[in-house]
């Protein structure tokens, strides 16, 4: 039994090739301040051609970039109860949700799709940082559980691309429970010996880092990505001292043994395919 040979072939009829609005504008690299023409930036997968800084890559673009020929099918996730706490701070949570939906055209901060990558059937989930800071509430947790269950049902590996400020405070304890639920989701894959690869992008913090993000069989990080449990500001306030240079950056985490490899976005697809090839090639006993 091998997930590589044994998965149920997904229907790819609904594969979406969505055209993004042409980026005719100039963008400024937040790292080196260079002005880059929008189309050039898009062609370069939102990596600054001058300094190599990895800008945020939106979920659709991420999926297009990872799947073979940019072809994939979105996974439907179950609907969840909206605003379960009736949460209201200076603004009410429902309003925040509505404007995030208008802005991103996504229901919540996570989307998953299945398709092929290097010929392998694979489920890829991506967090949407533009949706309330990619925070994890019930909808995100449910999406990850669904993605994992689908991967198990169809015998596919799972790749999750993270970008999140942490748990979604407005959903209180229900958001905290998603740390346990997403961890459980990963266990469902592990039980079946299906690979789970975590791709940590800028930023991956709080409750997301302290659950599924740090449980990959293989953990990849994009260069310079902020990956943290506690926020730098909180730590600085607690210890009342300056933080080390490069603190909580991908390179720092690698140095401290927390990620396997740092991969440039341009090489990400290729590296992931290579890993799937390797992981799916278990030896045959006796040979």
């Amino acid at each position: 039994m091998n997930w590589l040979l044994d998965y149920v072939r997904p229907k790819l009829s609904v594969a979406k090739t969505e055209k993004d609005v042409p980026d005719n504008l100039w963008d400024k690299c937040p790292q080196c301040d260079a002005m880059v023409y929008g189309q050039e930036l898009a062609k370069n997968l939102y990596v600054c051609p001058h300094c190599g800084y990895h800008l945020y890559l939106r979920p659709r673009k991420r999926l297009n970039m990872l799947f073979d020929n940019g072809e994939y099918t979105y996974l439907e996730t179950p609907q969840v109860k909206e605003d379960p706490l009736n949460f209201r701070d200076t603004k009410d949570y429902r309003t925040k949700l509505r404007s995030a939906r208008e802005k991103t055209k996504f229901d919540d901060a996570f989307v998953a799709a299945y398709g092929k990558m290097g010929g392998h059937g694979v489920v890829i989930g991506v967090m949407n940082f533009n949706f309330i800071g990619g925070s994890m509430g019930v909808a995100v947790g449910e999406g990850i559980v669904r993605a994992a269950q689908f991967a198990v049902e169809h015998h596919m590996p799972l790749i999750l691309v993270t970008a999140s400020g942490g748990a979604r405070m407005q959903e209180g304890i229900l958001s905290l429970m998603q740390m346990a639920r997403t961890t459980l989701a990963i266990k469902l894959l592990k039980d079946q010996h299906l690979p789970y690869i975590a791709v940590l992008t800028n930023p991956t913090t709080g409750g997301v880092s302290a659950s599924f993000a740090m449980l990959g069989d293989i953990t990849i990080a994009e260069p310079d990505a902020l990956i943290a449990f506690a926020g730098a500001r909180v730590i600085k306030e607690t210890i009342k001292a300056d933080l080390p240079v490069g603190f909580q950056k991908a390179e720092y985490l690698k140095k401290h043994g927390m990620v396997d490899m740092i991969v440039n976005r341009k090489e990400l697809r290729e590296k992931l395919i290579c890993l799937l090839n390797l992981l799916g090639n278990a030896f045959v006993r006796g040979e």
Binding site: P78, Q79, V80, K81, P84, L85, F87, R88, D89, T90, V138, G141, E142, V145, A167, M169, Q170, E171, G172, I173, L174, S175, L176, M177, Q178, M179, A180, R181, T183, L184, I186, K187, G206, G207, S209, A210, S211, F212, A213, M214, L215, I227, A228, F229, A230, G231, V234, I235, T238, I239, L243, P244, F247, Q248, H256, G257, M258
Partner: protein
């Protein structure tokens, strides 16, 4: 007990009555004793009623204060009272020993168990030694190690949650705080033994859930369990540190809220006036409730126990849409 009690802000009327009682008790000579006794009895009745009224309708913020009360029984008190032949165990066998989480083997009502939990300490010296109950990665890795050990020998696990949250600091980040917490949650799901978590005071975010991916999750009546502290939430969402009361209410962090959401299985009633006033009674009650749940879980096979945890957490937070 009253003279040692630390009173919370909202307990001022109770404090006044208690001091009056103390005053009468201390100045009473034999001659006046008869009159005073009557007065004392009256005042005590009044105090009891006041306590009853106050504790029946604690606001969420008041519950936060009660949950953090310095006299509230801590993990070490539960272990001392409930566990015989306690064998404390130390270290993660990787880096060091973090006493923010303590634990070990012992007999609980005759059943050998692994008991572990956050320990905040009770005075300055012990608070420092226990890192104020805020565990570092080595603390969570110790917890994970103790769980693995219990699992290996088929022993039930009792975990007591009482933390403001995981330690936020450079060394924590350096040694993989996020990974340590995630792996500890994961370990809970792997267990083939009964695993019961009890929030005895403060259930602070990731630092709390690390040792609470259990078959049964219980909470003391005036304990809290939250994704973020009211202080943190107030400063981020209200941009106003003083908005803690609003934040405490908005977060729905009381045991009663969590029970309503189906996140916890049972609320353990505290004696009137809170666990910090009646420590022994609280611990005894908690022990009895744990024992009852343990008896139920002991009927399940290893597979059933793991499946029970899986189903519990898969169903959790799936609220009715309407």
């Amino acid at each position: 007990m009253a003279d040692k009690t630390i009173y919370l802000d909202f307990e001022e009327p109770i404090y006044k009555l208690d001091s009056k009682i103390q005053e009468l008790k201390s100045c009473c000579d034999d001659k006046l004793a008869k009159d005073f006794n009557k007065e004392i009895a009256n005042l005590e009745k009044k105090t009891k009623r006041l306590l009853e009224e106050t504790y029946a309708k604690l606001t969420p913020w008041q519950k936060v204060c009660v949950a953090r009360h310095a006299n509230r029984p801590h993990t070490i008190d539960y272990i001392n009272a409930l566990v015989d032949n306690f064998m404390p165990m130390a270290g993660d066998k990787l880096f060091g020993d973090d006493e923010a989480i303590i634990g070990g083997l012992g007999f609980f009502k005759g059943q050998s168990v692994m008991i572990l939990g956050h320990e905040k300490g009770h005075d300055l010296e012990s608070r420092i030694r226990h890192g104020f109950g805020m565990a570092k990665p080595e603390g969570y890795r110790k917890a994970k190690r103790l769980m693995e050990l219990a699992n290996h020998f088929g022993l039930p696990i009792i975990s007591l949650v009482d933390t403001a949250g995981a330690f936020p600091g450079i060394e924590g980040e350096e040694r993989g705080q996020a990974e340590a917490i995630a792996s500890c949650i994961m370990e809970g799901f792997k267990l083939e033994v009964p695993y019961i978590a009890v929030v005895i005071g403060e259930g602070g975010s990731g630092g709390a859930i690390a040792i609470a991916s259990a078959n049964r999750i219980l909470m003391l009546e005036h304990s809290i369990y939250s994704v973020i502290s009211p202080e943190g939430c107030a400063s981020i969402l209200w941009r106003d540190g003083a908005a803690v009361k609003k934040a405490a209410t908005a977060l729905h962090l009381t045991a009663q809220d969590l029970y309503k959401f189906g996140v916890i299985d049972e609320i353990i009633a505290e004696p009137l006036g809170g666990a910090h006033r009646f420590r022994e009674e609280t611990i005894r009650r908690t022990g009895d409730v744990i024992w009852r749940h343990l008896a139920e879980l002991k009927k399940m096979s290893s597979e059933e126990l793991a499946k029970n945890r899986e189903n519990k957490f898969l169903a959790m937070t799936r609220l009715e849409l309407k």
